[in-house]
């Protein structure tokens, strides 16, 4: 599915949060969204998801303007947002439809992939922060959506688990050619996963830079080219010390 | 017109009330005489308990019963407010209300009430009784403080000393007499407004025959009570769950002698109506005379009892 943002702005009570965002995402593309805290990344994802309809400008999905939630869109929120009355397994099955046996099968399989096999019966209040985040990831991936919006999905994970899940995400992408928009603060992560990195800056947030990551997947986390891109990004972000505070 | 006569025949159910203040109704219900009489036609008999005159009137007005037992004054008030009811029978001449005080009280006569606190349930027979008793002494309700309490609560308030006197009602009055020796310092059986058996006008119009049949049955019950006073008291005690002693007192204060509504009753409620009007319970624009005349319809009883 392609995704086009045309001059999208969003204000809260007259204060702009993001301004004039133009963005075009091709089917199967993974776009990274980087930016300082509070510059409007989550706001932007919410407008794309259709949850927030109070924006100006036009958002087109598959060339159709749409202000509604699209069923084919998955959203991994910045917080886990697990339903506290469902246990891990039920939370993962929440978005699934069809026969119970099938649903169980899918859910168990994905729980295995995110390293939570054996934790099916725990309730959200019994999970650690990282475990909760992994349940949320599993819940969104299990429905294999066509567009996936990820808001700092791996922020609460240790380095090792994080890498495993990044690779798992790429597996999913390989299988379904999911279009993804990934908000992250981890530049290495963005470079390892994305085809393109978009940098937002300022308050209200505006797009200041777009970088293409040409290297073919699977990428080498230590590659020269990525290191070069990383330093470019750091420059783009650091230049504006003043505007952040 | 034809349908109406057929309705007369095809009465599918007949709805009566019974009440602990109407011993004859208890007898009637207990012995199942109405059911017996209507068994052949297959008419269903439905009994409803009336806990007080106001309930019986509510049921009559909402077409929930066909026959309802009330105090005469209550029926008058309701009639004055437009209720389509008729009094066709007098189930007793009760002395169910009197003025009560405590054993050690210095209130001896109605005149002593001046400036005192008296408990009564507004609008009910005891209240009317109180107003009439005061009027006789040239007093009015403004000369005393009337405290509105439910009948039973009035007794409690009296015994606890919250009020100085109580316009009581049986069986509470009899019970407190037995248990606390509370004296009845003023009695007047003529200030009680009789037990009226009322019927809905519509029913009387459509089914005059059935009205007469019910009156016949009431007569049978009345006769039984007159013949078996002991058993009647026992029956009342058992049905109402009160002590036999209390039931006996209550039965003693009921006079079952005259069942046909007539001039005495008319006079009694007219007098009550005038008192009520003075006490602002009845609106000034109500014509008491006419209302009372419309309320009392002796023809059914006259035909039944007179024809016996």
């Amino acid at each position: 599915m392609t995704l086009v943002l045309n001059k999208v702005s969003r204000s809260f009570d007259g204060v702009a949060a993001v301004k004039d965002v133009h963005l075009k995402v091709e089917k199967g593309e993974i776009v990274g969204l980087l930016g300082t805290s509070g510059c409007g990344k989550s706001t932007l994802l919410r407008t794309i998801s259709g949850l927030d309809t109070g924006y100006d400008g036009v958002i087109e999905i598959n060339e159709k303007t749409s202000k509604q939630v699209n069923e084919e869109t998955g959203f991994i929120f910045q917080e886990p947002r697990l339903l506290p009355w469902l246990n891990v397994l039920e939370n993962v099955m929440f978005g699934l439809e069809g026969k119970r046996a099938e649903k169980l099968d899918k859910a168990n399989h994905i729980l295995q992939s995110v390293g939570l096999a054996g934790k099916e019966n725990l309730y959200p209040k019994e999970l650690s922060g990282g475990m909760a985040q992994r349940v949320a990831i599993a819940r969104s991936l299990v429905t294999s959506p066509e567009i996936l919006l990820l808001d700092e999905p791996f922020s609460a994970l240790d380095a090792f688990t994080k890498m495993q899940l990044q690779d798992f995400l790429l597996d999913v992408w390989k299988k379904y050619h999911t279009t993804m928009i990934l908000v992250t603060h981890d530049i290495d992560e963005a470079l390892y996963l994305c085809d393109r990195v978009v940098i937002l800056r300022g308050q209200p947030g505006e797009i200041v830079e777009e970088l293409k990551v040409e290297e073919a997947r699977p990428r080498n986390r230590g590659s020269e080219q990525l290191a070069q891109l990383k330093s470019d990004i750091l420059t783009a972000l650091d230049l504006n010390k003043q505007s952040v505070y | 017109c034809g349908t109406e006569t057929s309705a007369e025949e095809e009465l599918s159910e007949i709805r009566l009330d019974y009440a602990y203040y109407s011993p004859t109704s208890l007898v009637l219900k207990k012995f199942g005489w109405v059911e017996e009489a209507y068994e052949e036609e297959g008419t269903e008999v439905v009994w409803t308990l009336s806990q007080g005159s106001n309930k019986a009137l509510e049921y009559l007005n909402s077409n929930s019963v066909d026959f309802g037992s009330t105090a005469g004054a209550a029926a008058l008030i309701s009639k004055a407010n437009g209720a389509p009811i008729q009094n066709v029978y007098i189930y007793s001449k009760p002395e169910w209300t009197a003025l009560v005080t405590t054993e050690d009280s210095d209130i001896k006569t109605v005149a002593d009430l001046k400036g005192k606190q008296v408990a009564a349930t507004l609008g009910t027979d005891p209240y009317i009784f109180l107003v009439r008793a005061l009027a006789e002494e040239g007093l009015s309700v403004n000369d005393i403080t009337v405290t509105n309490l439910q009948h039973a609560d009035g007794a409690t308030a009296l015994v606890n000393g919250d009020v100085d006197a109580w316009s009581g009602l049986d069986p509470h009055m009899a019970k407190y007499e037995v248990e606390n020796n509370t004296p009845l310092f003023f009695r007047n059986i003529d200030f009680n407004t009789y037990g009226f058996l009322n019927v809905r006008e519509e029913f009387a119009e459509k089914h005059p025959e059935h009205v007469k049949r019910i009156i016949e049955l009431y007569e049978k019950a009345r006769q039984w009570v007159l013949d078996n006073p002991e058993e009647a008291a026992e029956l009342l005690a058992e049905e109402a769950g009160i002590d036999l002693e209390v039931a006996k007192i209550q039965m003693e204060r009921n006079d079952f002698s005259n069942a046909i509504p007539g001039d005495v009753h008319l006079e009694s409620i007219k007098e009550a109506g005038r008192v009520l009007q003075e006490a602002d319970v009845l609106n000034d624009d109500v014509d008491v005379e006419e209302t009372a005349n419309n309320l009392i319809e002796p023809k059914f009883s006259e035909e039944v009892i007179g024809g016996q």
Binding site: - | N61, A83, G123, Q150, D153, D162
Partner: protein, 276 residues
């Protein structure tokens, strides 16, 4: 220059906003009146045609007239005043006790085990059942009446407070504990605000019950008040008085509930709730 212009626009925006708020409120009231007005019109029509006979259900205009006349001779105000005073006093007392007992019992599981069963048992005793006991214990003055109303108010407030406290997120309580708050401070600064939505529902439920218990309260030797008016009307077979008192109950109850609702809206602005 530009600054001044901006200020002027700001002011204009301000006025505009204020107007908008007023219009919005008026709108809400208007929309809320649609159905009542419809119902009353139908009722009036049916009464006029004679579908409801007046001895059963007088027409709205008749009832209004009764109320108007009571207003003229002044009795209306004393009825309303006395009842409102009683409800208000009973509401304050009932709420006060419910807050203290509810916070205590909601917070300490031991206290809950000791007291809660008894309280729950009392909860289903009907108001009318209390009447003879209250007369016995407190006589027929104002105390028994106000206590009766307080009893009615107590239960829903209590129930909602306890459940509200149980529903407070452990995470937030821990924040308070980390700052070494005493139990009392914890209740005041974390638990009560966090259970405020539930508490406010309890208040509104309680106030409603307060209005309901007034009738039982005014069976205990009252000579004024809306509940008195109601029983008076029932004893006197005066349907217009009965309905007048019902309508007054509805109106004044609605008014006081509206005050609480305003409070609710003010104090729950922080809730992250859906708007459609």
């Amino acid at each position: 220059m530009a600054k001044i212009e901006a200020e002027i626009t700001n002011k204009k925006v301000g006025i505009f906003r204020k107007n908008k708020v007023v219009i919005e409120k008026l709108n809400t009231i208007l929309i809320g009146s649609i159905i009542p007005i419809l119902l009353i019109t139908v009722w009036e029509l049916l009464s006029r045609i004679g579908v409801f006979p007046s001895y059963q259900l007088p027409a709205p205009t008749t009832i209004l007239n009764t109320i108007y006349e009571m207003g003229l001779d002044g009795t209306l105000w004393s009825h309303i005043g006395v009842t409102t005073y009683r409800v208000f006093a009973g509401f304050l007392i009932g709420t006060g006790i419910a807050v203290v007992l509810g916070s205590f019992i909601g917070f300490y599981q031991r206290a809950e085990r000791l007291f809660d069963p008894l309280i729950q048992a009392f909860r289903s005793i009907p108001s009318l059942a209390w009447v003879p006991l209250f007369i016995l214990w407190m006589g027929i003055g104002e105390p028994s009446k106000i206590t009766m109303i307080a009893v009615g108010v107590f239960f829903p407030v209590y129930l909602n407070i306890v459940s509200g406290i149980h529903g407070v997120d452990r995470k937030l309580i821990e924040v308070g504990k980390m700052y070494g708050l005493s139990t009392f401070q914890l209740i005041r600064r974390i638990i009560l605000p966090a259970s405020l939505p539930s508490f406010l529902v309890g208040l509104r439920s309680g106030l409603g019950l307060g209005w309901m218990f007034v009738v039982a309260a005014e069976l205990m030797g009252a000579s004024q008040g809306l509940g008195f008016l109601l029983t008076f009307g029932q004893n006197m077979s005066q349907p217009d008085v009965i309905l007048a008192s019902i309508i007054l109950f509805a109106l004044i109850g609605k008014l006081t509930d509206w005050l609480l609702k305003l409070l609710e809206q003010r104090s729950l602005q922080w809730q992250d709730r859906i708007q459609d």
